[in-house]
């Protein structure tokens, strides 16, 4: 079952979907539901709940990308999913085809990877959260830090250091969302999040070299 992500003008034509506030409410309930059954569970239980949330976000990110073909890179781009003979079969990433072996990551123009991350910061964030990411930084070696100074899923909670411990629960789904969207765009990644003071948070995207 897919959790629906709400947003205005998703994709071409500006088709209006459900009101944005519904996703915020649904997300809050999802977190509450996962923690309600065992509030005192140790780190093992917590990690399981976090990974359930991340997995849900991943699937939504994939689906968003799949249902918006305008988001996929043009087929001439090396990032476009293409089948090449002799490639190993896709294993844990059925929707993402590996890069063709004759093109190593290093030979790709650095700009292309940055373009994809900029797309996440602008188009994806606008579609899901009705705002853009506030800043994007990189070490030029496949690690990107996306910063949102007023993340909508944290805004209603608190401002400052209160609930800092709880914040990761509210970021797991979005980490998955980023990872899933990147996957549909042909990029394998690891996404983590950190919060110094609500409602600002940072998402760290580390591109996985295949």
């Amino acid at each position: 079952m897919r959790a629906r992500s709400a947003g205005r003008s998703l994709g071409a034509g500006g088709r209006r979907m459900a009101d944005a506030v519904l996703f915020e409410f649904l997300h809050t309930e999802m977190v509450a539901e996962l923690w309600a059954h065992d509030p005192d569970s140790g780190p093992g239980g917590q990690n399981m709940s976090l990974s359930v949330l991340e997995g849900m976000g991943f699937r939504v990110g994939q689906a968003l990308g799949e249902r918006n073909p305008a988001w996929l890179p043009p087929s001439s781009s090396p990032w476009a999913p293409q089948a090449w003979p002799g490639d190993p079969p896709a294993s844990a990433w059925p929707k993402c085809l590996p890069l063709p072996p004759r093109l190593s990551r290093e030979t790709l123009a650095y700009r292309e990877e940055l373009d994809i991350l900029k797309f996440l910061c602008k188009d994806l964030w606008m579609a899901v959260f009705q705002k853009q990411m506030d800043s994007l930084r990189t070490n030029h070696q496949g690690t990107y830090v996306l910063q949102d100074n007023s993340f909508p899923l944290l805004i209603r909670m608190a401002s400052g250091l209160q609930y800092l411990e709880e914040a990761p629960k509210f970021l797991a789904f979005t980490c998955g969302l980023l990872r899933g969207t990147l996957c549909t765009l042909g990029v394998k990644s690891l996404v983590t999040a950190s919060v110094a003071a609500l409602p600002a948070c940072k998402f760290q995207v580390v591109i996985q070299k295949s």
């Binding site: 079952m1 897919r2 629906r4 209006r16 979907m17 459900a18 009101d19 506030v21 519904l22 409410f25 649904l26 809050t28 309930e29 999802m30 509450a32 539901e33 689906a63 249902r67």
Partner: protein, 135 residues
């Protein structure tokens, strides 16, 4: 989960919709269908009243955005009430304005019925004459 969402959603609804006081269950159901559903989901279910004591109503959903990407229920889950969240939301919202109601799916297109129908039964309180129906 829907109940939890409904208890919070109603505040957002009241803040944004500026509806006045309602004086009957029928008026309340009309507002749910014509204002709330429209505001949040962009659809307007039609309303029918199912009994003469005017406390049982049905919302007939012609379109349901929640199932837009669902072709059929997964195998082994044929009894799944996919949109039960909606019933909880309505129930939670009504309870926050001091109205008790049973809300269930009477028909479900995903289960093969011809329409999707949500039934709302307002439960009478013992001293209902003493309370004004608030919205």
């Amino acid at each position: 989960m829907g109940y939890g969402i409904g208890t919070r959603l109603v505040e957002d609804f009241l803040a944004r919709s500026c509806v006045g006081r309602c004086h009957s269950y029928s008026e309340i159901t009309d507002i749910i269908a014509q204002v709330a559903f429209k505001m949040y989901l962009g659809i307007t279910p039609s309303v029918t009243c199912n009994n003469s004591s005017r406390n049982e109503f049905s919302l007939i959903l012609d379109k349901n955005p929640l199932v837009e990407f669902v072709e059929e229920l997964p195998a082994g889950r044929s009894s799944l009430c996919y949109c039960n969240l909606l019933c909880g939301i309505i129930r939670g919202a009504l309870e926050m304005v001091h109205l008790a109601a049973d809300v269930t799916f009477l028909q479900d297109r995903l289960k093969g019925d011809s329409v999707t129908e949500i039934g709302i039964t307002f439960l009478k309180k013992p001293e209902e004459k003493k309370y004004r129906r608030k919205k």
